[in-house]
């Protein structure tokens, strides 16, 4: 065995890679609940790739066969229901773990110097994930798929001069049809997953360059022991590999509960309206997006003017990119020592949750005022942070990690 490894090591840096990224990669020893979600996101990504390959073996991307091919998977393919439910549940779980992973970044100031690029790469991954989910949502070609495809591609039409041309380019024609399904399938199965995989590798490279942040928001690499290793650090393997396996177990239990007992989760993970085939002549009573994109949809609807609404939506998606430079508290990163910042995050999360709920309701004038208040609160977080973070009361930050 050791001769084999030596043989490989002369030709490929196997031992070196394992050492640098696992056994001698030091992570803070006080990771808590919030630190499970990075590895869990990777795990769910793997579920999606594997189940996706099986679905692709039976899916037919054409306007007259797509919906039927999904039913064939559900009714006639052995274990087809398991594969498809795992894929639909995986889509929602992907967003759940990614949202919790992002929230961890906000809470402990993980975006702060020197992790600005790590944050930005992560946010690009999130944007890719939204695109991936959207393309995948259109593929089953139920009526909500059809109208979701129609509404979202029409957003591109708001771009001056070239808008209409871009819309027909995105759809592969005047309306949504077979050409749309074929290109969306290409994006969903080839382009975006390849981008995601590459970005995940880059995200991890950046992480291993800076090292992980921690719930205290202090640098473990600032305090080295006599052996030159961080005093408060422990090797990623075996400590965090065994811990993450436990995390995977808990996630799988929740995942299996959904797949086996509530695969549609009362219309939340799979909408009932999508169980009628695409019909260009029949608009759904309410066009509502999946839960994970609903907050942005509510923002779009909160502005009566289409172009202005799209501009606000664009700003809302772009503004978190600048978070590393908006937070100017030089004394502390983590909410553990920043009560005011914690309060701001609570308001931010609450407003996104309310927007998410509003985004899934039928359009109604009664919901406009709360949607606008939440939209304002969302932007207020980012616009007031540079000022508040400079003067906010900050508790003394300890020198060493607290367990």
């Amino acid at each position: 065995m050791s001769t084999l490894i030596a043989w490989i090591d002369r030709r490929f840096p196997l031992t070196k890679l394992v050492r640098e990224s696992m056994t001698e990669y030091y992570a803070p020893k006080n990771f808590n609940f919030w630190y499970f979600f990075g590895s869990l996101a990777l795990f769910v990504f793997a579920i999606q790739v594997i189940t996706g390959i099986f679905l692709l073996a039976h899916y037919q991307p054409s306007a007259d066969k797509a919906f039927e091919s999904i039913q064939t998977i559900m009714y006639d393919v052995k274990w087809g229901w398991l594969i498809r439910y795992a894929h639909t549940t995986g889509a929602s779980f992907f967003f759940i773990v990614v949202y919790l992973h992002m929230l961890r970044g906000y809470l402990y100031g993980s975006y702060r110097k020197p992790r600005e690029l790590l944050w930005i790469i992560g946010f690009v991954i999130y944007l890719c994930l939204m695109a991936e989910a959207y393309f995948g949502y259109v593929l089953p070609y139920g009526n909500m798929s059809y109208w979701g495809g129609e509404v979202i591609t029409s957003i591109i039409g708001a771009i001056p001069v070239v808008g209409d041309w871009l819309v027909s380019l995105a759809r592969g024609g005047f309306g949504i049809g077979t050409a749309t399904l074929n290109r969306f399938l290409a994006f969903h199965v080839v382009l975006v997953p390849a981008l995601l995989a590459a970005l995940v590798v880059i995200h991890l490279l950046a992480l291993h360059e800076t090292g992980s942040n921690n719930p205290d928001g202090i640098e473990i690499r600032d305090r080295l022991g006599a052996d030159g290793k961080p005093i408060d650090g422990i090797p990623f393997h075996p400590y965090y590999t065994v811990k993450d396996i436990f995390g995977v177990g808990v996630l799988m239990i929740l995942f299996a509960l959904v797949v086996f007992y509530a695969p549609t989760l009362h219309g939340l993970f799979i909408e009932s309206y999508n169980y009628t085939p695409a019909n260009p002549m029949q608009t759904p009573p309410d066009i509502t997006p999946a839960w994970y994109l609903a907050p942005y949809y509510a923002m779009l609807r909160a502005i009566p003017n289409k172009e202005l609404g799209i501009l606000v939506l664009f700003l809302a998606i772009i503004v978190p990119f600048f978070l590393p430079w908006l937070d100017r508290n030089a004394r502390a990163r983590s909410v553990r020592y920043r009560p005011v910042y914690l309060g701001m995050i609570v308001v931010l999360v609450a407003s996104m949750l309310v927007l998410g709920w509003i985004g899934m309701q039928p359009a109604s004038p009664a919901l406009l005022p709360p949607a606008r208040v939440c939209l304002a609160l969302y932007f207020l977080f980012f616009f007031t942070l540079p000022f508040i973070s400079r003067i906010e009361p900050t508790r003394p930050v300890p020198e060493r990690l607290r367990m």
Binding site: Q71, Y75, V250, F260, S272, L353
Partner: protein
């Protein structure tokens, strides 16, 4: 663990849709989702619905296993099951003849319970009333001016718009209610036959995962001893 539970609830509660739009006029059927109910529902469907409606994804072959019936018992309900077990349940009426008779092609009902929900189906089937102004002589509370005639009038009897009985049917109201609940259960089954398989497998899968997670936790405790 408590934190985790709180988060899960928070994440899900945030996104619960209001599915109770028409709640006011829909009522909930009461049935046990088991083989006895499904067999009764299949029988009711075969004798009252298949003349016009298809179940385009349900093959006879799977019914024997899913519903736990012998081939003979299944053939008594669906005669085609004997010689063409791989066929799907097709309506007896050709589409163009149906179009002639009703002005619309009666829809395939395989996914009806997914699309409209079991409460809708149950309430719709119990929602017919006498209305001489309609070509069929009947109307429906849940789906006003529906093209479908009240084929269940022989069982239920004829009911006026206010619910008063005009003429009695061949079965008692309680029996009729049980039949409609059973056929609703049957359509719930056809909309997602995996429910039976999922319910049978679920405890084993989750049991395994719980054991796996406990072992993983014990391993974590052992490995982490030097850190704590």
């Amino acid at each position: 663990m408590r934190k985790l539970a709180c988060l899960a609830v928070l994440a899900l509660a945030a996104a619960l849709p209001a599915s109770a739009q028409e709640a006011a006029k829909l009522s909930t059927p009461h049935y046990r989702f088991d083989r006895a109910t499904l067999q009764a529902g299949a029988k009711f469907f075969a004798s009252n619905c298949t003349a016009c409606h298809s179940l385009g994804h349900i093959r006879y072959r799977r019914l024997a296993t899913d519903l736990g019936m012998s081939k003979e018992a299944l053939t008594r309900i669906f005669p085609q099951a004997r010689n063409k077990p791989d066929d799907v349940i097709k309506s007896a009426m050709p589409a163009d003849a149906a179009l002639q008779a009703f002005g619309v092609v009666p829809p395939d009902l395989t996914l009806e319970a997914r699309y409209r929900g079991t409460r809708w189906i149950y309430s719709y089937l119990k929602g017919f009333y006498s209305d001489p102004s309609r070509p069929t002589g009947f109307n429906n509370h849940v789906r006003p001016n529906v093209a479908m005639p009240d084929v269940l009038a022989g069982l239920q009897g004829i009911v006026a718009a206010d619910g008063s009985v005009i003429s009695k049917g061949s079965v008692s109201p309680a029996e009729f209610d049980r039949d409609i609940a059973a056929v609703t259960a049957w359509l719930q089954y056809t909309s997602d036959p995996s429910k039976l398989e999922r319910r049978a497998l679920g405890p084993w899968v989750i049991g395994f995962l719980v054991v796996f997670t406990l072992v993983a936790y014990a391993l974590k405790r052992v490995v982490w001893r030097p850190v704590h």
